[in-house]
Amino acid sequence: MDDNNIISLYRARDESAITKTAEKYGAYCFAIAQNILANPEDSEECVSDTWLKTWNLIPPEMPKCLRAFLGKITRSLAFDKYREKTSAKRGGGETESALHELSEVLSDTDDTEHTYEIKLLGEAIDRFLATLPRRERDIFLCRYYFLYPIGEIAEKQGLRENYTRNLISRTKKKLKTFLEKEGFSV
């Protein structure tokens, strides 16, 4: 079933919308959650929460791209769960590793954590990504948006792991320079 038909089911408040979404995007959302949580049970729970949240959001939301819409919800829910679980102790895994890598890009001295400023930052990152060649952008997002391990990214892209690691590192430096020019504290 195509995305428009699935969205129509949501709009009609037809509960089969959830089944159809799960059939089509269950694995995708699970992969996103699993990359963050590294725990199948938690990831399953997160995916279920994604369906519920989607059911509550559509309508009035009318996503242009259902997959990206679901991915954003899953990612956000998974991260909330990750924070909840690691509030007592900080664990390892791809999330911690990717977050640690990203912390090199932006300074901790910048204390602006408001939603609006996060949005501005997001838009700046988006502008930066628009300047990158497609493959470099894909790799960067696979690592820092979807939190895939570098080895898995390299494999899927048909690249050597070292090369992929270096590419990510260079992209990160370019992002840092870009954000500096955009006036973000780095």
Binding site: M62, L102, D126, R134
Partner: protein
């Protein structure tokens, strides 16, 4: 935490980037391809792209061609369908002086005279859908104001205009309607019509009591104030508004009815002068203030070459900020003057923005009106919307302005047409830009081309095509994305 901030910020990355990245992980493991293969693949790809583009160009519909716009100049234009909508869904040209902003010029002109004609057509204000008659007024005497023409045109709400023909003489406090060459939509002829100097007598809050002072001949043949007007339908609901200064006071004058014309004018003059000196209200206080403290700016604005500015005023408790934008033939330009005054006269600064047009440039500006007047919005299909023909036009808006090319500062006119299309529930957005050069040639342009031309995207609407931004639930329009 900073790293979490970046993590969350990445939620604002556009969907197609995420899609591409997700796809790159879903596709089978890629094998490295040798350069020999790449050459062959590239050749095939170029061939395929060439065939595809040829096919697309061959079947591209002629929906936005200049030819069609011109041919449909006299076609039906159902502006009436857009009435009663919110401002953001209005249809017409921009360059409006909004009600509060317009008060600075209110009561600069008070005239005595008579109405000689009501123009036959019914006119619609393109921004709000309000209907007006336009009245031709012969001026006998100017009580306040400078350079007032002997014959002037003013607009009055449709249901009020006929009554004024019954009076021998009128004194009116009037203001210019926004801009030079103000565009109104002629309902009878289905086209925009520009008025070089249009006045109006009421503001957005409704007709004001005291704006008109009607005179009739008494039994001795003398002209005396008649308050018969104010008991007629429509007029009896007129308000005493917060603007209006001296006429407002006159309306409360105890012997208004039966006063002679000479006496009335004398009273008005006295009130006007007192009002200007002391500041009856906010309007006069500011006007007085400006005239003393910003003479250089006013000299510039009021010179013949620059008399096309429109005032926009914002005031706070301790600061007055004035932002003047030059309008040429009714269309906004990027030329501005900023004035900041704090704590009354204690602090003042003002500066010109960029650009500042030269006289030669002003004389050679592209004629946006000439193109605007030929637009038939019903005949243009929203160009970026999939299956646009299956959607209904919820509202349509055409806005003209002047822009400069970044590379050589050449001036262009720009008309932005925006559509709000609905499937009965969701409302989608589309737009089309028409670029007009000084020699009158005009063409459509996409956002990317305009951003490159101007070096900025400030003139562009950045909403995505084929995306629902609003949901219409009965009379209520909900915004889906903040």
């Amino acid at each position: 935490m900073t790293r979490e901030r970046i993590f969350h910020a990445m939620a604002y990355i556009r969907d197609d980037f995420l899609e591409s990245a997700a796809d790159s992980m879903c596709t089978p493991v890629r094998k490295r391809i040798s350069w020999k293969h790449i050459g062959a693949l590239a050749a095939c790809f170029l061939l395929a792209v060439g065939i595809f583009l040829s096919a697309q160009l061959g079947k591209m519909p002629d929906m936005i061609s200049e030819h069609k716009i011109l041919e449909n100049a006299d076609g039906p234009f159902s502006l009436g369908t857009y009435h009663n909508l919110e401002m953001q869904f209005g249809c017409g040209t921009d360059g409006f002086v909004y009600d509060k902003d317009a008060i600075l010029s209110m009561w600069r002109v008070a005239v005595e005279g008579r109405i000689v004609e009501i123009l036959p057509a019914l006119y619609t204000e393109p921004k709000t859908g309000e209907r007006f008659h336009i009245l031709k007024f012969e001026v006998c005497d100017v009580i306040a104001g400078q350079n007032v023409p002997e014959t002037l045109y003013f607009r009055l709400e449709e249901h009020l205009s006929a009554n004024l023909l019954d009076f021998e003489r009128l004194i009116m406090g009037i203001k210019q309607t926004g801009l030079e060459n103000y565009p109104m939509y002629n309902e009878n002829e289905h086209r925009f019509e520009s008025f070089s100097l249009l006045f109006e007598t009421s503001n957005a809050h409704g007709t004001e009591y005291g704006v008109f002072i009607p005179f009739d001949e008494d039994t001795s043949g003398n002209l005396t104030v008649s308050d018969a007007l104010w008991s007629l339908d429509g007029w009896n609901e007129a308000e005493i508004s917060y603007v209006g200064g001296f006429v407002k006071e006159f309306a409360q004058y105890p012997v208004k009815s039966g006063a002679s014309l000479a006496e009335t004018k004398e009273t008005l003059m006295r009130l006007y002068e007192t009002g200007v000196r002391n500041g009856y209200d906010y309007v006069y206080t500011i006007a007085d203030f400006y005239n003393k403290e910003t003479k250089a700016v006013f000299d510039y604005m009021e010179s013949d070459a620059n008399a096309v500015f429109v005032q926009k005023v914002s005031a706070w408790s301790d600061t007055i900020g004035v932002y003047y934008t030059r309008y040429i033939n009714g269309y906004e330009t990027p030329e501005t003057i900023h004035i900041h005054m704090t704590d009354r006269k204690a602090y003042l600064e003002w500066w010109y923005g960029e650009p500042i047009y030269t006289k030669e440039e002003l004389q050679a500006m592209p004629d946006i009106s000439a193109v605007m007047e030929r637009l038939d919005l019903d005949a243009i299909t929203p160009p970026h919307t999939e299956n646009a023909e299956e959607l209904t036009v919820y509202a349509c808006f055409a806005r003209g302005e002047y822009i400069k090319r970044a590379s050589d500062s050449e001036n262009f006119g720009l008309i932005a047409i925006t559509w709000y299309l609905t499937d009965g529930g969701y409302i989608y957005y589309d737009d089309l830009y028409i670029l007009i050069s000084a020699d009158g040639i005009y063409r459509t342009a996409e956002r990317e081309a305009l951003a490159e031309l101007t070096g900025s995207n400030e003139y562009l609407h950045m909403k995505e095509y084929n995306t629902a931004y609003w949901y219409c639930d009965g009379d209520e329009v909900k915004m889906l994305f903040p």
